[in-house]
Amino acid sequence: MNASSPLPTDSDAFRTAVRDFLSEALTPELIRAGERTTSVFSDFEAGRQWQSILHQRGWGAPDWPLEYGGTGWDIQQRYIFQEECRQANAPTPVMMGIQMLGPMLMHFGTPSQKERFLPGIISGENVWCQGYSEPGSGSDLASLKTTADHDGDDFIVNGTKIWTSMAHYSDWIFCLVRTDKAVKPQAGISFLLVDMATPGITVKPFTSLDGEIEQCQVFFEDVRVPADNLLGQENQGWTVAKSLLEFERGGQHFTIDLKKQLSKIQRMMSTETCRVSGDPTFAYRVAETQIDVMALEQTELRIKGSLTAGDNPGALSSLVKVSGTELGQCCAELLIEAAGQSAIPWQSEVLAPSYSGSTAAASESVTTMAEYINSRATTIYGGTAEIQRSIIAKHVLGL
């Protein structure tokens, strides 16, 4: 991993173009949806609307290849685009289809599967959720029990999936199911695409710790799925999913959000009413976090560099996910301390993009408590911090 890491060189013209587009396209309500985002996802409807606007502009999936509707931007441009969207407080749509399923469809899908599913994903018309975890299978994913049995040209699916983000809004679910119980766990898993409208599917939403609903449990009772909806070979689902997990980990730019949070902390520190404004240790902790974020940013750039060079960034992705999420938690802690008592009100209604009234919490702290609470989940979902560390131990250190 001895790669040198030049500093980012901004492409100013590109940035200006993006910025101009954003200032035209973003309505006040969309911006409020972006501002009042307390987790990975913004308000669902605002997110869907924004995805449709992006798609119309041709920017629906900048990471995709041109042939499937991508933008043809280089890595640097995609980074700038993401950065500008966050800076402008654009809402974040539900991205499982674009970020996760899309690349796998392109790689493993049949021509007709690609034709059938990719357009709906990029346009935002079809929202997808991910059905991996089960109540008994969290970190130990390979032990999953949901079955898909052959019945003529169909599969019959029975079982349940949990921690299925946004399932209650989703049109489709991509899931891992067991198609062979006789072989060892990973070898008997297949990858299925299932229409959420199929009879036999029920969705039970969970209220999260912050009071909002994002996670669901999905129940399958004799759900009939056409064999055409199998992605990849039967019993090869683990291979498909593994490449997805790799992609999920490699594709994240944590430092865009981290730098935004740090700016907010610095802004708050410099206001007179802030409880921590006179506390030198707070300033030092912010500085140490800043330095850690700089280190992560340079590491992201190193990885991007090796992607450009065609190398496999490998388990550096696990490193970025662990550091990125833990630094996010660190920023959330600094924010909650800066907000102090002013963050205690819990008013769900003010998170709606349509809400423009006053808030019981201080205006800069409306989302602080929910963000702090939700930050704890970031080291759990998408492969826990423990799993990431085990991956590093095994694949990088060879332990």
Binding site: T273, I336, Y381
Partner: protein, 376 residues
């Protein structure tokens, strides 16, 4: 050095009552309906004498020390009590008790009818120690003007004990929640206590002025110390409960064919949770003892307990969530609620950062006086 027999009895009784009268799902429903203080529970607290604990026998109190009140606070943390117990006792035992109106007010506290909650935070440039809320003399008498915000348990208050600035220095003013000229917005909070934001612009009669000047400042200092200790004790109870929940869960939950509790990396982290919780326990109990014995170190101990409990409460409840995994991120599972309560306690009355700064100041004084003593 074990608990006294009296303390053990108090612990056992309170533990039994709270266990029997706590239902996690019911608690969630109540909070959803904005019920933060159940009248029958509060009445039971009164009947068991909990609301009489800090007061002298002359006022029909039980004359207990902080060590005993901290037992209740610890159990409040363990059982996630939303009733304003530590909130009301902290104010009553330090502010109301010092006022000339004590003989009139304390009986109401003991009976459960008077729930006075401290209103000290402000949205403006004033601080909790030097308020911008003012009590001023007008032609027609006193007038209280200003804002007090983010009052934890404010939704359960019958009265507010408002910290204001006056021409005589600090003042504590008692205002009924339904008083004309007080506009009070209540709101839910993530820890289930329910809060309030208040705008005051109303006439104040002499008997509403509890304390003024040095006496008010002294009461503020006592109130803060009491709040530091009780918040530490409640944090301790919540941390211990979060640890216990985690230990139970990891023993049952299997992954990769074995209980989570058998994974060494998780074992060592739970060992750390225990170590830190026990160290906190020692400091919290010692802070109570230091206060009850009026030790010269009482101020240092209160702040040490606050600093340590805030750090440990945060870390232990965060780890509890992480070691549980997904289930801990839902509102339907208890462990995240310890985390949310501990988070609220972190900033209640005095933050960890403030306590640490005050600890350093007190310590410098102590070192200086030790040096000057050794020179004589």
């Amino acid at each position: 050095m074990t608990m006294t027999e009296e303390q053990t009895m108090l612990w056992d009784t309170a533990d039994r009552y709270l266990r029997d009268h706590t239902d996690f799902n019911q608690r969630r429903d109540q909070i959803a309906e904005a019920i933060y203080n159940q009248p029958e529970k509060w009445q039971a607290f009164a009947e068991m004498g909990w609301l009489a604990m800090p007061f002298p026998e002359s006022l029909d109190g039980l004359n207990f020390g902080l060590r005993e009140i901290a037992i209740l606070a610890e159990l409040c943390g363990q059982y996630l009590v939303t009733e304003p117990l530590i909130d009301a006792l902290a104010v009553a035992s330090t502010v109301l008790i010092r006022s000339e109106q004590a003989a009139t007010l304390v009986p109401g506290v003991i009976s459960g009818d008077l729930i006075a909650i401290a209103a000290i935070d402000e949205p403006t440039a004033g601080s909790r120690l030097s308020p911008s809320c003012t009590l001023s003399q007008t032609d027609s008498g006193w007038r209280l003007q200003g804002k007090k915000y983010w009052i934890s348990a404010g939704a359960s208050a019958t009265h507010f004990a408002v910290l204001a600035d006056s021409s005589n220095g600090l003042a504590w003013v008692l205002v009924a929640k339904n008083a004309a000229g007080l506009s009070c917005e209540t709101f839910p909070t993530h820890d289930g206590k329910g809060g309030a934001n208040c705008h005051f612009d109303l006439p104040i009669s002499d008997d509403q002025i509890l304390l003024m000047g040095d006496a008010a400042a002294e009461a503020l200092s006592a109130f803060r110390e009491c709040a530091m200790i009780l918040s530490s004790a409640e944090t301790l109870g919540a941390a211990q409960a979060a640890l216990d929940t985690t230990v139970d869960y990891t023993k049952q939950r299997e992954q990769f064919g074995q209980p989570l509790a058998s994974f060494q990396a998780l074992q060592h982290r739970m060992a750390n949770m225990l170590i830190q919780t026990e160290l906190t326990r020692s400091l919290v109990y010692s802070a109570c003892d230091a206060a009850d014995h009026d030790s010269p170190d009482r101020g240092r101990f209160a702040r040490a307990a606050k600093v340590k409990s805030a750090a440990v409460g945060r870390k232990v409840t965060q780890e509890a969530i992480q070691l549980h995994g997904g289930i801990a991120t839902t509102d339907e599972y208890i462990v995240g609620h310890f985390f949310k309560r501990v988070t609220a306690l972190e900033t209640w009355v005095c933050s960890k950062g403030e306590a640490l700064q005050e600890f350093i100041a007190l310590d410098a004084k102590k070192v200086a006086s030790a040096n000057s003593a050794s020179r004589h």
